[in-house]
């Protein structure tokens, strides 16, 4: 670590980072494996990426936000050309006549944990230790940045073929979501999105802090627990302050399409300490609400994570299926996601559960 508290992201960090990002994906966010390989290729070829704490840069430094937009399943088949986000970021810079000082992830959960690292490696920029969600969410507007007033334009979207579309002005973040979503589909449901830069003082105030470090810590705990043949689920809970809410087997999984998203529900029959209990998880790409024996016990925006009971591997909603043995754990979301402003965008009501009142989780004990 250097004077400004920054540290270089090493090749050995990438795998644990991707594991932790999959965990924070809370069932969605896309698989970070491809992104992990892409950043590894760049670092092996000599690129360096430093991770900066939120305190490092001056107030007027401009921070760029980049990420992939599209369908997770397309991401594992039509892998990126490589510079989609980079071209989108350059387009935003050109429109404004500025240069970014650093990049930040909109979404630490899932594949978008890696995209800023890749773009930073290509542009020779550092990345900020934080993000706009502290987890994964399905839509562009669901970041602390937008919730607390970041400007949605100019933004730019780029594809694998060299097409770059700039959204010069959009009325609000919901319009950006709509335009960017439609454009990404025309681009083959996999594209790079760059959003208008934010001043560092704004990012300091609104970013969920330390989430790159958090993902790394989770990933390292998983690796270490596996190496020592310890119970991965227990180790992860201890490392994060997460709480185990249910262990059981998936006995039913129903999926349907509503509003362009994968919505559904998983039913779980309790095992072990939960013998005789029943659980139910509502899904919209990510896990939204967990009920145990009819009571809602975890709800969005708190994190609901299904881990494979044996390996501790996070199970994404797309591969959730009948017969899987899972540990369902809950992790409190950051306080920035619990304010009235945030609730309006990412609370249970925003996801279509007017009957639920958000009851925040408490942190469990944290140990190394």
């Amino acid at each position: 670590m250097s004077d400004d508290g920054s540290w270089p992201l090493l090749e050995a960090d990438l795998l644990p980072l991707s594991i932790g990002a999959a965990f924070l994906g809370t069932g969605g966010g896309g698989n970070p494996y491809v992104g992990m390989l892409r950043s590894r290729e760049l670092i092996r070829k000599g690129a360096t990426v430093r991770v900066l704490p939120l305190e490092a840069l001056p107030d007027d430094a401009l921070i760029g936000e980049v990420g992939g937009i599209g369908a997770p399943v397309v991401g594992v088949e039509k892998i990126e050309e490589g510079a989609e986000c980079f071209r989108a970021m350059r387009a935003v810079e050109e429109v404004l006549g500025i240069r970014m000082a650093a990049l930040i992830s909109a979404e630490i959960g899932g594949a978008n944990s890696m995209e800023p690292v890749i773009t930073a490696a290509q542009a020779g920029l550092p990345v900020i230790d934080g993000d706009g969600m502290g987890r994964a969410f399905p839509e562009v507007q669901m970041t602390t940045f937008f919730i607390y007033g970041a400007k949605p334009s100019p933004a730019a979207i780029a594809d694998d073929k060299g097409n770059v579309v700039v959204f010069r002005h959009v009325q609000d973040m919901y319009w950006l979501e709509r335009f960017a979503r439609d454009t990404s589909v025309a681009m083959g449901a996999a594209a790079g999105l760059a959003i208008a830069p934010m001043r560092m003082d704004f990012v300091r105030r609104t970013a969920v802090p330390g989430t790159v470090t958090q993902a790394l810590t989770i990933g390292r705990a998983v690796q270490d627990a596996r190496a020592k043949r310890q119970n991965v689920v227990e180790r992860v809970c201890a490392a994060t302050g997460a709480t185990l809410f249910l262990t059981g087997k998936i006995t039913d999984i129903r999926r349907e399409l509503k509003g362009g998203f994968s919505r559904g529900e998983a039913k779980i029959v309790g095992l072990g300490d939960w013998q005789g209990s029943e659980g139910r998880i509502a899904i919209q790409n990510e896990n939204l609400v967990l009920w145990v024996d009819g009571e809602p016990v975890i709800m969005v925006p708190d994190l609901i994570i299904n881990l494979d009971l044996e390996t501790g591997e996070p199970i994404t909603t797309e591969i959730l299926r009948y017969g899987q043995r899972v540990a369902v754990i809950g992790l409190p979301v950051h306080d920035l996601m619990k304010t009235p402003e945030a609730m309006a965008v990412v609370g249970p009501q925003a996801f279509g559960y007017p009957e639920l009142t958000f009851t925040p989780l408490a942190f469990g004990p944290v140990s190394a």
């Binding site: 599209g70 399943v73 892998i79 490589g82 073929k161 060299g162 994968s262 095992l271 017969g323």
Partner: protein, 515 residues
């Protein structure tokens, strides 16, 4: 119908002879270094044991770990040219990027990115460029590479480009093996490409091995058709197996589980296959092994094959038993095939699980007098430890609270003392050769995995179309049409995509057509 099932394992080559659903004979012969000598021996033994001759046998099914072992041990692999049709997409990750370096080096790390590929909805990423492919062919020729793997983006949605590129390269490079990824894998570019490349590197070996199997069968006077078993417990004929050796990966555990289902007559159960060094544990659903959901690695390479969800623990008939201050320890070290010289009961000096069981009167094996000195308390504690390990793995494999029976198969089955985890215990006849039985009763399958736009057709119509395609694929693979059943249907809406894009997977299975 008389059929022979053979399982070529690392230690033993097992063979069974069946008449319809009756097992007439089952034998074990040591696996030979050349593999074929062991196969011939097992064939001769099983025919003699059943008092019949090869000309009475209708069909032979072979399960082999030969190709898996070749990849795991990096031997007999041919150099491969990996051609990906994709540009400009996917350029960020070249073929074999996540392979272990030693395996990539053995294959030569030859890869080419070319134009082509499709979007998720079938649109073209870029047009195929014949000139470009001919240039690649020149390079492949100059390097003397004789096997090519072609992978096009979204080929499970549209395989046209792979076919066209295969024809172009096939014309330019006669005497070259061409593997198309869409013939092997499902959506997931790297995993499907990995499978195609591994298949390509096994093509020389598969030609040789299938020819040798043919030779071994001719040697005992068998002239009928023979098949190899795939990872999902279904068959492929010899010609197909020669083209797709990669599909034999993991067929061993599948065969033992299928065999266990057949021998016991139970379709839903937990199966414990106890060998000399490890026990494989998995669960059966409707007579088929439950499939793994996460990516499965073979020889360090990620694949997305249909693989049984089986895990191994270090407990077998040759596992070492060591008493210490923390209690008695069983496995994971094992004397393996050296059990016949190293175990106490065979006059050796190593205490194994088999010694414990025989000393306790649980089995007749070797010379029990050589175990007279063993402490009774130790024997009891060791048996308790073994029972605990079995109970633990059975609990792990249980997929419902229903009291499923536990079927125990394999040569190490003597380790089981009584019911495991309070569940009904089934020790079927011929348990020691269950894997060869699994090979003998293998079925044929066809699978479809593609994305439908449900804006253009109803979900029911899409499922019907997928079922029809899967059925046709099963029939094309050799199934009797009237026996084909749909065994698995899964549809997953693709998040974020409009037009209700939905990924549909259907698998059809049928009895082998013999005649």
């Amino acid at each position: 119908m008389i059929r022979i099932g053979i399982d070529v394992g690392g230690t033993n080559t097992d063979a069974v002879l069946m008449d319809g659903k009756t097992v007439l004979a089952g034998v074990k012969a040591p696996t030979s270094p050349d593999v074929m000598t062991g196969v011939v021996q097992a064939l001769r033994d099983v025919l003699a044991s059943a008092k019949t001759t090869a000309d009475k046998v209708d069909v032979v099914m072979i399960g082999t770990t030969h190709f898996t072992n070749a990849v795991v041990q990096r031997r007999d692999l041919a150099p491969v040219a990996a051609v990906r049709l994709c540009l400009p997409a996917t350029a960020s990750l070249p073929p074999m990027v996540d392979w272990p370096e030693d395996l990539r080096d053995v294959l030569g790390n030859h890869w080419y990115l070319a134009h082509g590929g499709n979007e998720f909805d079938g649109r073209v990423i870029s047009k195929l460029d014949e000139e470009e492919l001919l240039g690649i062919a020149d390079d492949i020729r100059a390097k003397g590479i004789k096997s090519v793997a072609i992978t096009s983006v979204f080929s499970p949605v549209s395989s046209e480009f792979e076919k066209q590129a295969g024809e172009i390269l096939g014309r330019a490079l006669p005497d070259t093996h061409i593997t198309l990824s869409a013939d092997i894998g499902r959506i997931g570019l790297l995993e499907r490409e990995n499978a195609a490349i591994m298949n390509a590197c096994l093509r020389d070996l598969s030609q040789h091995v299938v020819e040798a199997f043919r030779g071994a069968l001719a040697d005992v006077g068998f002239t009928g058709r023979f098949y190899l078993t795939q990872n999902d417990g279904t068959l492929m004929d010899a010609v197909f197996a020669e083209r797709f050796p990669v599909l034999t990966f993991a067929s061993g555990p599948t065969n033992s589980m299928r065999g266990a289902a057949f021998l016991s007559g139970v379709g839903d159960a937990i199966v414990v296959d106890i060998g000399g060094t490890t026990s494989d544990v998995g669960s059966l659903q409707k007579g088929f092994p439950r499939q793994a959901t996460v990516a499965v690695e073979v020889g360090g390479v990620r694949t997305n094959f249909r693989m049984p969800d089986v895990f191994s623990i270090g407990l077998g008939g040759g596992s070492l038993v060591v008493d210490g201050p923390d209690g008695v320890k069983v496995g994971p070290r094992s004397v393996g095939y050296r059990i016949v010289t190293e175990a106490l009961l065979f006059g050796g000096s190593t205490l194994t699980t088999s010694d414990i069981v025989v000393a306790d009167g649980g089995a007749e094996l070797g010379d029990r007098a050589k175990l007279a000195h063993l402490d009774h308390a130790l024997i009891r504690r060791a048996r308790d430890r073994i029972a605990f390990m079995l109970e633990d793995c059975v609990e792990r494999a249980r997929i419902s609270a229903d009291p499923l029976p536990v079927i125990v198969v394999g040569g190490g089955s003597i380790l089981v003392e009584g019911p495991i985890a309070g569940l009904e215990l089934i020790l079927p006849n011929h348990f020691a050769v269950a894997n060869a039985v699994g090979a003998a009763i293998a079925q044929v399958s066809g699978e479809v995995d593609r994305v439908y736009a449900l804006a253009e057709m109803t979900r029911d119509a899409a499922l019907d179309d997928a079922k029809r395609q899967a059925t046709e694929a099963a029939v094309a693979a050799g199934a009797r049409r009237e026996t084909v059943e749909i065994v698995d249907v899964e549809d997953v809406p693709l998040a974020y995509l409009p037009g209700n894009a939905t990924r549909v997977r259907v698998k059809a299975v049928g009895e082998l057509h013999v005649g």
